[in-house]
C-alpha cells in the first residue's frame, strides 16, 4: 500500500526532518509509528498523503509515485486517504456533523448515506449528543474524536492518524483504538503516529520508531523496515 524508498526531507534552511528512510507497509496492515516529538513522524505522514514532497527518494501510495502524480490525480488519491491531523483541522463555525460530512461530500456521496454514516460514527465515538454542536465549542478530546471520525468517514483504503489519542483519557482511547481495529479488520491500512506506548504495547501490530529523522529498530516487528539502504 505504501512504499517509501530512501526518502529525505529537508526544511529550509537546513532542518533535516527525514533522512534516507525506507518503509514498506502492506495493504491491510496496521502500523504504529513511534518516536519523540520532532522525530519526523508528522513529516512522514505528510509525505505519505502528498502534502509534502520528498527532496530525495520516492514515495508510492496505492501503486502511484507521488512525485509523478498529475494535478488531476491528487484529489482522487486524497479521497482514498483519511488523515486525522494532530491539530484536528476542523472548522470551528461548522457543526460536528458538517465537519465529518465534508470528507464524504467531496466524494459526492448522497446525503442520506452521509447522514447515516455521520450518526453511526458519532455513536461509535460516544459523541451522538454533539451532532449539532459547533466544533469550536468542543473540548480538545472531543475535537480529536471528530477529526478521527472524519478521517474514516469516507471508508478510505489508507488511514493516517497523527497522535490520535494525545488528548484522550484511557476509556476514550480504547474507543478510538476499537474503531481503528474495526476498520483494519475490514481491510483498511492504518498508520498511527504516536508517542503513547500504551496503545501499541499490547498490540500485535508492527511498530517502527523514528529518531531524528531516521528509523531505529525497536523489536522483531520492525523486520520489514529497511534503514539506510545501500
Amino acid at each position: 500500500m505504501v512504499e517509501i524508498v530512501r526518502a529525505t526531507k529537508i526544511y529550509p534552511p537546513d532542518v533535516v526532518a527525514l533522512e534516507d528512510i525506507s518503509l514498506s507497509v502492506a495493504s491491510g496492515e496496521m502500523l504504529f509509528l513511534t518516536g519523540m516529538s520532532g522525530a519526523g513522524k508528522t513529516t512522514l505522514l505528510k509525505l505519505i498523503c502528498g502534502i509534502e514532497r520528498p527532496d530525495k527518494g520516492m514515495v508510492e501510495v496505492a501503486g502511484k509515485d507521488l512525485n509523478r502524480l498529475k494535478p488531476k490525480e491528487v484529489p482522487v488519491l486524497r479521497q482514498q486517504i483519511g488523515m486525522a491531523y494532530q491539530d484536528f483541522k476542523l472548522l470551528p463555525d461548522r457543526t460536528v456533523a458538517q465537519n465529518i460530512a465534508m470528507a464524504m461530500e467531496v466524494a459526492y456521496l448522497n446525503f442520506k448515506t452521509i447522514n447515516k454514516r455521520v450518526v453511526a460514527l458519532l455513536q461509535q465515538l460516544r459523541l451522538e449528543h454533539k451532532h449539532q454542536t459547533f466544533a469550536g465549542n468542543l473540548s480538545r478530546g472531543e475535537q480529536q474524536r471528530v477529526a478521527i471520525a472524519r478521517a474514516v468517514a469516507n471508508s478510505p483504503s489508507l488511514v493516517l492518524a497523527d497522535e490520535p489519542t494525545g488528548n484522550l483519557d484511557s476509556k476514550t482511547t480504547a474507543l478510538v483504538m476499537k474503531l481503528f481495529e474495526q476498520f483494519n479488520s475490514w481491510g483498511t491500512t492504518i498508520i498511527i503516529a504516536t508517542h503513547d506506548d500504551a496503545i501499541y504495547r499490547k498490540s500485535n501490530h508492527r511498530v517502527v520508531e523514528l529518531h531524528s529523522g531516521r528509523f531505529i529498530p525497536t523489536d522483531k516487528r520492525t523486520a520489514k523496515t529497511l534503514n539506510n539502504m545501500p
Partner: protein, 295 residues
Amino acid sequence: MKFLSTIFVLTGRNLQKTWPSQFMTLVTVSLSVLIFSFFFLIYINMIKAGESLGDDLRLTIYLEEEPVIEMQAELVRKITNFSPVEEIRFTSREDAFNKLSSQLGDNVDVLDDLDPSFLPPSIEVYPQKDLTSLTQIKRFSEYLSTLPGAIKVQYGQDWLERFNYFTKLLRIIVVLSGILLIMTTTFMVSYTIRLAVLARQAELEILRLLGATNSYIRTPFLIEGLLQGIFGSSLGLIALFFLFQWIQMHFTGPGFLQLIEFTFFSPLIIGIIILASIFLCTGGSYSSMRKFMRI
C-alpha cells in the same frame, strides 16, 4: 446528478453565510443594469424617432421664377441624376397662396391686401427613406441650391442638426454607461468572490486536503456569479420597466415626447442584456478565483 445536488447544496450554504456582501453586489449589479438600460432605451427610441422623422423629410427649393414644362423636366432630370428620390412636386405661386390661405383658416383675412403672387414658386423633393444621415441631407441640399433659378433650400436644418447632436450625445452616454456596467459588475462580483475566498481560506485548505476536486471548489463560486447576473439584471430591467410605465403615464400629452412613440425593449434585447450580465458576473467570479484561489 450527485455532483449537481452536492454543488447546489454547497452554493446554498455559501450564500447563506455571505448574504450581506452578496446582497450588496446584487444591488450594485441591478443599479448598473438599470442605468445602462435606461440610456440604452432612450437611445433606441431616439433612433426609431429619427427613422420616422426621416419618413416625413422633404426639401423645399424656392425658385425665382415659375419653371416652364421643359424646365420642370430638366430640373427633375438633374435632381434624380444626383440622388434617387421618392417624389418631386412643383408648387406654383398660386398653389402656394392657396395652401397658405387654407392653413390660416379663420385668419385668412390677413392676406386680403396682399398680391396672390407674392409667394415664390417652389419644388418639394421627398428623398428616399434611406437618406437619413445629416451629412447626406446637407450634401443633397447644397446640390439643390445650385439648381438654375434656386433661391433657397429649406429642410428644417436647425431642428435636424439639434436632433442629430442629441442622438450623438446619447450614443456617448450609452457607451459610457455600458463601460460603467462592465466595470462595476465585474469589479463588484470579483470583489465579493475575493472576500468569500479569503473568508473561507481555512475551509478551502481543508477541502483540498480531503480530496476536493477543482470543480467541487470552483463551481459554487461560478454559480454565485451566475445567480448575481440573472437576478441583478432581471431586477434592473424590472425596475426600468416600472420607470418606463411611470414616464409614459406622466409625460404623455402635447409636446416633444408625443412625437416619439416610446416602446420598451424587445424580448431579444432583454435576453441579450441578461446574457451579457450573466457573462460579466461569471467572468468576474472566474477571474477572481484564478487570482486568489491557488488550486
